[in-house]
Symmetry: C2
């Protein structure tokens, strides 16, 4: 195994796609001898910044998303159950996951918080639950909540989210390999090609695409 | 081969994902002994109806989409080149593709119009090009343009788009098997499971998901 750039895994607990990708990304990283560097970010802030809607905010897409994640998880053998409510407020869980801690502890904590959300657990909106899960991951639960709620704890998540926006993120999960961005579970084959040095997207190919002019803009239906 | 419900394939030439899916859907249908019923619709009208943005309307997502379709087409062995401009106005090509004609002619016509857009051709905004392509598919090119521009020709595309919205469509490509909706290239495995009667989404599963309350709404960043 060679030492490679890490896969930075940008996620929000709100997203079942991020949960499913979290259950895949470690095996992908191991196959390529690289580390996973988890980066909690606030998906809602990405939507706000881009003036965009999340899949749960368009009624028929919300239903389709439920069905799609059930099908995807079933195909991949990932346990999946609906959380107590959705959308929910993921801020505390994201802030706790962003605190300074050892890599192994962070992976275990995120794993437990994802499972609490998407694998039949009690969700992660309740402070007591987050404290208990943090304790199970080896942290001081009450202390972690206090730290997460401090100005510094809040600023850390904001900074991570701003850095994600600066890197071009528009959704979760986003995987960054160096400055190359990959989005969603269907991008794993692309991540692997990229890590193998076989990405068909070269600067020359990209230049051909990026310089095409718009010859029409969307307007009300004609 | 048994006679099965058709796969209704809802598409807009504007979408490279629809182009790539068009190149896959016939093989999927053949494997399951069903027909493909192509349904041209106006993607922009779906976005308008849902107050949503297309992938090309969010700058970093536009770039990612270019890269993603290059990677996807490369993996699938589908020829892909950028059209002369994008976004472009697909209305004439959609209306011509919606005219009454034999099934084989329609498949050939759509294939040629997709190739004119996404396989290195001249695009489909120019009336002369659309007339020529219609002629190559066996239609009276000039006559097809006239019919497409008639009130009836315009109404047909509008009705197809309204029906797509009523069926819950929010993007392209959408595949409908009966009333079950599938979206995007990554849904082909799900379409196939559904056609085999092995869809993990049952009414009971869906009911568990659909009745979860929202416990938070998106608000400006905190």
């Amino acid at each position: 195994m060679t030492t490679r750039e890490p896969i930075r895994f940008l996620f929000d607990f709100i997203s079942p796609y991020a949960y499913i990708a979290w259950k895949q990304v470690h095996a992908v990283a191991e196959r390529h001898g690289c580390r996973v560097e988890p980066v909690p970010i606030l998906f809602a802030a990405l939507l706000n910044a881009h003036g965009h809607k999340g899949p749960a905010e368009i009624p028929p897409k919300r239903i389709y998303t439920f069905k799609h994640v059930v099908r995807l998880a079933s195909r991949l053998g990932v346990p999946l159950a609906p959380p107590p409510g959705h959308p929910f407020n993921p801020l505390l869980a994201l802030r706790v996951s962003s605190l300074p801690m050892a890599d192994d502890t962070r992976r275990d904590l995120i794993d437990r918080l994802f499972d609490a959300t998407w694998a039949g657990g009690p969700g992660v909106e309740d402070e007591q639950v987050v404290a208990r899960v943090a304790g199970e991951a080896g942290l001081d639960g009450a202390g972690a909540i206090t730290q997460a709620r401090s100005d510094e704890g809040k600023a850390r998540l904001r900074e991570q989210t701003d850095a994600a926006l600066a890197a071009g993120a528009f959704g979760v999960p986003t995987m960054l390999v160096g400055s190359e961005l990959f989005w969603g579970n269907d991008s794993f084959p692309d991540v692997e090609l990229h890590l193998r040095g076989e990405d068909p997207v070269t600067p020359a190919v990209l230049a051909r695409w990026a310089d095409r002019p718009a010859t029409a803009r969307r307007s009300p239906r004609s």
